[in-house]
Amino acid sequence: MAVVRSMNKMYGVCFHVVRQTAGLKASRLLQHRAFRVSVVQGQQPFDSTLEKPQFPGASAEFVDTLDFIQPNVISGIPVYRVMDRQGNIINPTQDPQLSKETVLNFYQKMTLLNTMDRILYESQRQGRISFYMTNYGEEGTHIGSAAALDPRDLVFGQYREAGVLMYRGFPLDLFMAQCYANADDLGKGRQMPVHYGSKDLNFVTISSPLATQIPQAAGAAYAVKRENMNRAVICYFGEGAASEGDAHAGFNFSATLECPLIFFCRNNGYAISTPTNEQYRGDGIAARGPGYGMLSIRVDGNDVFAVYNATKEARRRAVAENQPFLIEAMTYRIGHHSTSDDSSAYRSVDEVNYWDKQDHPISRLRHYMTARGWWSEDDERSWRKQSRKTVMEAFERAEKRLKPNPELMFTDVYQEMTPGLNKQRESMWRHVKQYKEHYPLDLYVK
């Protein structure tokens, strides 16, 4: 029973931490520290005189009855929330008290992302770009977390975090340039649409293989820690990607190597068509955190303030204490997985409508703003018009632009151009010039 009790105690402490994490009060630091030392670094010094377990692998008491530890799935880790679905602050002590400008900025970035999503989604349907992935329903997780970071913090993402770039000021023209793979694309037109990256905005270029960024983020956080420049790293991933071996690697490495890193899991219920009950059987992703010795919390991903509070506190402590934090943001993927997917093949329209109409991060924040008199129907109308216009203008500019010079197919494979590649480059040009009528040369920069 002792094991069971100490487990309960551990989870109890855990819940306590979870509930308090967003409290933003430094006075609780000592208590958190104590938790960490007793649980994570609990390996005791060897002392053969004590009548207690001396195994180096764990710090625990003996127990004389047979009891398996039950996973607590029915009543899982609670979902931290700051405002309700009508935009009312539930517990005033948790109100981040953000200024009107900040909140308006949140709202405008979320809705601008939403407008861009609609236009690019349609443009894919019309065959104008080859592929797209929307962010419907997850705008709050992006903006709330991005706002809680320092702009110098390095971001590693999966592909559904365009809002983070939006918040950091990535120009619409560059979003479009990437999707169109035109000559303005910083990535030189080499990757599929939505694989954004920005060196200036510290947003590491997206790649398609899932979860590979997770251990990379741990390595980057380790390097950042050694720089000692008060920076952190944040790493986003979906609940499906969390099943990859790389997620396990990243969680474990960041804990044992004490990295200032925030793992941000977007649990939106689906990995393409796979529902979460086919993805895992534990209490979601947050419940895995303590197993790695990681402070963890679950937040309402449709509540931008809850996301903001949790990220803010995790960031503060990650940097101060050099340890990783896990935030699981519960959301719902309102859109299709991608433009190559029809989600009505595996889920009901009613389900989607509930999240779109009754529990959406954008409408919730709008309720909050309206209640304060910060936003009116007129504001909404004119902002919609204005944002649509800016997006359309960028869209048209991007569409007209030529594609990059085919020469760029051969550069950046290595830092230098190797003799072998140079030969292949010359051979391509000789061939293309000879058969120029068979290649779309006029679409490309000369």
């Binding site: 990535g187 293989p209 550069t411």
Partner: protein, 392 residues
Amino acid sequence: MAAAARFFIRGAPLKVPVSGVGCGAQSCFEATLLKLSPSSNSRTKTQRRHASHFTFQPDPEPTQYGPTQKMNLFQSVTSALDNTLASDPTAVIFGEDVAFGGVFRCTVGLRDKYGKDRVFNTPLCEQGIVGFGIGAAVAGATAIAEIQFADYIYPAFDQIVNEAAKYRYRSGNLFDCGNLTIRAPWGCVGHGSLYHSQSPEAFFAHCPGIKVVIPRSPVQAKGLLLACIADQNPCIFFEPKILYRAAVEQVPVEPYTIPLSQAEILQEGSDVTLVAWGTQIHVMREVAKMAQEKLGVSCELIDLQTILPWDTETVCKSVAKTGRLLISHEAPITGGFAAEISSTVQEECFLNLEAPISRVCGYDTPFPHIFEPFYIPDKWKCFEAIKKMINY
């Protein structure tokens, strides 16, 4: 998977081998053989190992880089790592069991000298080690990752092929992991069986964006490893583990580099070109000698050194002169890197070739335990191939 590794290497760090168990170097074999009296019974005979399949010949002492010291291959690796940590404050070394000096002693003393935040153990997870190294390199650190055996690099294949190799290209050069070097013990060791003997270079040779480098001696190891670390591309550096202790020569104490993607002509010749890398160079050296003595054949011996991107020019120039080519590697023949060299040379030197290009390689089987003497492309197999080629 590294549980097997631990089991295998338990004896390897021993300075004085007390039995024939778990000792991979030539000196160990000699010691073992010495202990066996001439009257050994049949039981000890079955326990006796096949004598080493090569003889290491030190290169002439390099004098242009200042004072030298007698080092074996693992010590020259340590020396390269030491130079790097001393000159580059961002450099970190990590992997399984590197903190206490590594299971092959390559990192001995570095943690004490440079601190535990710079030389540290990771959890036992290869995909994590390489992913972590990529991330550190992306954030601007010089990352030197160790994979305990090349045989265990496959869990990190995705991170190497899809991530490390494509980082610079896919980001339009916004981000790169050029400061990453992955070191791994490589090649057969006498008794390593399936998972402590592999030569996986050809798997990586099909992957644009990385460099793959294999040295033949302590001097080459240090110079090429320092070149890999300095190179602005992710590099895999395979260390022939059978040479860790067996190869001893004078190595410069100060840092120096040997250029990548440059093959080295070790011996000029006129009748046949021999191409190999790693330990196999020492086999080929003997083969060249045998060919000269027994057949009067003059061999040109080339150490390829860099598998990717490889030095086509040096090899093709040599074949244009000799008209014959033999390529030899320990890895299995089908899809091995000799196939790439062979087809390229055939394309470039068609008019010069006087015989079909010969490949003497491992068989298309997993690397066996007790059959190792029959598996490896030893000097007799290579010699026979030369004989056939000359008589073609």
